[in-house]
Subunit: 276 residues, 3 copies
Amino acid sequence: MNDYEFSRKTVEILREIRRRKPLVHHITNFVVMNSTANVTLAVGASPIMAHSHEEMEAMAAFADALNLNIGTLTPYWVDSMILAGKVAGKRGIPIILDPVGSGATPLRTEAAGRLLEEVPVTVIRGNASEVMSLFTGGKEIRIRGVDSLETVDAVRDGAYATAKEMGKVIAVTGEVDFITNGEKAIEVHNGDPMFGLVTGTGCAATTVVSCFCAVEPDPLAATACALGYYGLAGEEAARASKGPGSFQTALYDALYGLSEEAMMEKLRIKTIATNP
Amino acid sequence: MNDYEFSRKTVEILREIRRRKPLVHHITNFVVMNSTANVTLAVGASPIMAHSHEEMEAMAAFADALNLNIGTLTPYWVDSMILAGKVAGKRGIPIILDPVGSGATPLRTEAAGRLLEEVPVTVIRGNASEVMSLFTGGKEIRIRGVDSLETVDAVRDGAYATAKEMGKVIAVTGEVDFITNGEKAIEVHNGDPMFGLVTGTGCAATTVVSCFCAVEPDPLAATACALGYYGLAGEEAARASKGPGSFQTALYDALYGLSEEAMMEKLRIKTIATNP
Amino acid sequence: MNDYEFSRKTVEILREIRRRKPLVHHITNFVVMNSTANVTLAVGASPIMAHSHEEMEAMAAFADALNLNIGTLTPYWVDSMILAGKVAGKRGIPIILDPVGSGATPLRTEAAGRLLEEVPVTVIRGNASEVMSLFTGGKEIRIRGVDSLETVDAVRDGAYATAKEMGKVIAVTGEVDFITNGEKAIEVHNGDPMFGLVTGTGCAATTVVSCFCAVEPDPLAATACALGYYGLAGEEAARASKGPGSFQTALYDALYGLSEEAMMEKLRIKTIATNP
């Protein structure tokens, strides 16, 4: 697709989300439950947050997408993700994984690895360090807490090869986002440094990807369009704000109110050559 | 009571809350702990969030109302609610139940049922699907996640009969709110569609009911006045905002700052005939 | 230090935080995980929220400060705090304790006591009732939920004696904050009543103290400067807001954007005589 087609696609997916209001089941961390639920609603979808083993299968049975996030994880929560993920996999709904802090501690690296083994994940969205941990097994990753110390450029080749090997879409977000399915690759140039000053904005990016995948069958295009739209909403929010508090407020407003005209003009989503 | 008397009553209850600053013990879900604590403070009461079995009896022993909410529940949390609920019941403080997602999964439907059996709940506040699940046992409910697919009108008769049978106040919120104790019935016409775009606004409605019940001995009037005041604050917030982010900010401001003049003029709380 | 020196010191610590972006490991309550993460980012540090026993030692091994908060505690979480606290203690990083609700229930009073026995806490930040519970063993404390019913003045002597005995810094926050290490004492006169209308603002004060202690080796000065800066940000936020919703938004903006000029002019941090 060219730039125009990606913009067109983004507009169409958003229309479809608002028409169908898909249900996105989140098994996510305590820090972002409220903010990612609000992002889901601002995008036009419906969030359900649930993790009790007793209702994992029932919840996964009527969701339109499953969002897994390992921030503030304990073993109980990883088991919840596997229970829900198996049902989601059987039903063929998209499963989106945010490997928060993978590479920072063995618990997180192993949880991400176990989820990738036992659950048919469709898309992985992480920062450069987190994505790197997926193909190095967590060794020698420079990461501090959940902040990446690696650059997107440093993991492009690894992400590409891993996406190919695993048969998944991998999105590495940073100054420029890199999205690949191991065959094609896309860059998203929308975004704003203000995202780094609000907690959970990475998790929220994954939530937007989940909303887009819930209605769009091509997960590569869905992921790229989701990240472009989210980044552009951040650009608009940054213009309307004076600091991280007003930025977060304006971000929800922009996700809700971004005009189709603005998307057609300002989205910067580009297919890039994959054979250098 | 007529419209004028409900408005008067609302103003009086709010004054009393701000004079006494009642303590509202919440055992609630992870998504809304922060937002409902902020709503409690904006109304003028004091929130305490606590769920550890080891302190349930101690906390319930000095609270002025108990707010139970089954979103993101696990069996541990339901046990917390029962421990606190028994102490609250012995002390005669009002207990307000928000059956989040009852009808969506057996775990939630059963938790709501068990709480109603073991705890002397005073008021139940839910959407139409959730309330319907209380009298159908969760069968054949159309609900998606925690979003109602039933209308308030469809559950009026059932809510009325169930309130009568259980001896409780039941509030069904939606475009028009319906509140009944199985004898009298009240409609609240305040509100705004923006509430649907922010997570936890239903849970927050229940919190406002809890604050009002903490100081007003008549739970039917307290519930109706609480929902009128909350709906009107939403109307004011919608006027002052550009999307769901600024709406939530403006909602806390309005709950805090709504003038008595605005309440006397704009509350739309009406007793309705119960023998059709 | 005189007033000018405290203002100078505050400016320098903030510059250092923004230069080094220290990692502050929080083991904290569900209500404030999102808001204190945002405060950490607005100050210029990096938050990591983690509590699983399996990763406590790994997380504590690369943190620059450890923030412990017993709101919404269960025994599991207290054990997490002790696991992390032991590693933090061995590494010599500052450990800051917020004894939320200590004095309100035996569980909380005992948890605070156990943490103080088993973990080499550097600074304790609480309201007057919470601090009083630390030296009375929780007997006869007037506290309601997590709201202090004691005055800062009533606990000055006790806080001073306890700080001396324990060899720690104790900060009692209220209308005027009182900070002591049992040798020197400091008052902070910055602040605004609006803080009382937003949940978790006490917890956030502790977070700011943790950020300051992460880069400043003198915990007494770090704590005083942190509370002055936080209080002044609240003053600026109150001027820019219409109620508790817009206050919270403006508070993050002010923490992020407070100018060095404003700090040099408006901070009111004063050493006071300790031998009356």
